[in-house]
Amino acid sequence: MTYHPGQRVRVAARSHEGHHRTPGYVKGKTGTVERAYPSFTNPETRAYGADGLPQQPLYLVGFAQRDVWPDYAGQSRDRIYLDLFEHWLEDAE
């Protein structure tokens, strides 16, 4: 596990051909690690018949809604959380 709760992380802005579970709306956005989960098989290879190994650490990452959606109409304290695999995260501290 590379990241720890409270740490600022940025979601990689790269595109990815094929199945992956990092929604486009958070790519390039910076948030905070909320929880560190165990590792899970990698859906990007498992989707194509491979075993998904090595397993990838998973994190719950929280973002301010206004950092994700510049025109967000709700309250400034509103947040959005996603489960993101470690290989999509970069240290942002």
Binding site: P38, F40, A73, G74, L82
Partner: protein, 210 residues
């Protein structure tokens, strides 16, 4: 259709309601069975399991947490273990997370990528949960979505949307309604609706006594 010549009048019978994905799913199932990857029995067992699940299990968890503060702490720390403790099947996901709605914080759950959902504890997800409008707007305009579901959050409430994009399954623990102090665990469970555990509704109000 021209062969159809009995004399009661009706519209042509068509399979018009079947979504296009159904034909693709049937074709995939057939190929997987022919290749020996799965059997018809596997498919049947999974369907039986899924339709045997219901929100009553999730409601039991929440109701116990409402009446037992120690259990609530265990539920929030590890919902999978808490479900097992009550003899419930938490499903195949190794991590199930319960999040608590309070006076100051409201959670709601979505899966923007598909339809990830705590099926073991809530049963099959409702059709709207899988719809594109909910999946896109729950993340970008969640207060607008909640408003349409009948929840108007105060400006001082922090709204937290959980997009379950991977292997974790999320269950919302709604706030216990006022006026339920005298109601036992079973009566409380009856107030805890599916939608309140997705975070798009409040629990039902208790029936007036009298």
């Amino acid at each position: 259709m021209s062969e159809h010549e009995h004399d009661h009048p009706h519209e042509p019978i068509e399979n018009g309601d079947e979504p296009p994905a159904a034909a693709r799913a049937r074709a995939l199932e057939q190929i997987l069975i022919e290749k020996g990857a799965i059997s018809r029995e596997d498919v049947r067992e999974r369907i039986d399991w899924l339709v045997s699940r219901s929100p009553a299990d999730g409601a039991r968890l929440v109701a116990r947490a409402w009446v037992d503060p120690d259990f609530k702490q265990r539920l929030l720390a590890d919902a999978r273990s808490a479900a097992l403790e009550l003899g419930l099947d938490p499903g195949p996901s190794p991590v199930v997370v319960a999040v608590e709605n309070t006076e100051d914080v409201h959670h709601m759950v979505v899966c923007t990528l598909c339809s990830c959902y705590p099926r073991a504890l809530l049963g099959p997800p409702p059709a709207w949960y899988k719809s594109l409008p909910y999946r896109s707007r729950a993340v970008s305009d969640p207060r607008g979505v909640l408003d349409e579901f009948g929840i108007e959050l105060g400006e001082d409430v922090e709204l937290r949307v959980l997009d379950s994009t991977a292997d974790i399954r999320y269950l919302v623990m709604p706030r216990r309604p006022a006026g339920t102090e005298g109601i036992g665990e079973e009566g409380l469970a009856a107030l805890i609706t599916r939608d309140s555990m997705i975070g798009v509704a409040q629990p039902a109000a208790p029936a007036p006594i009298g």
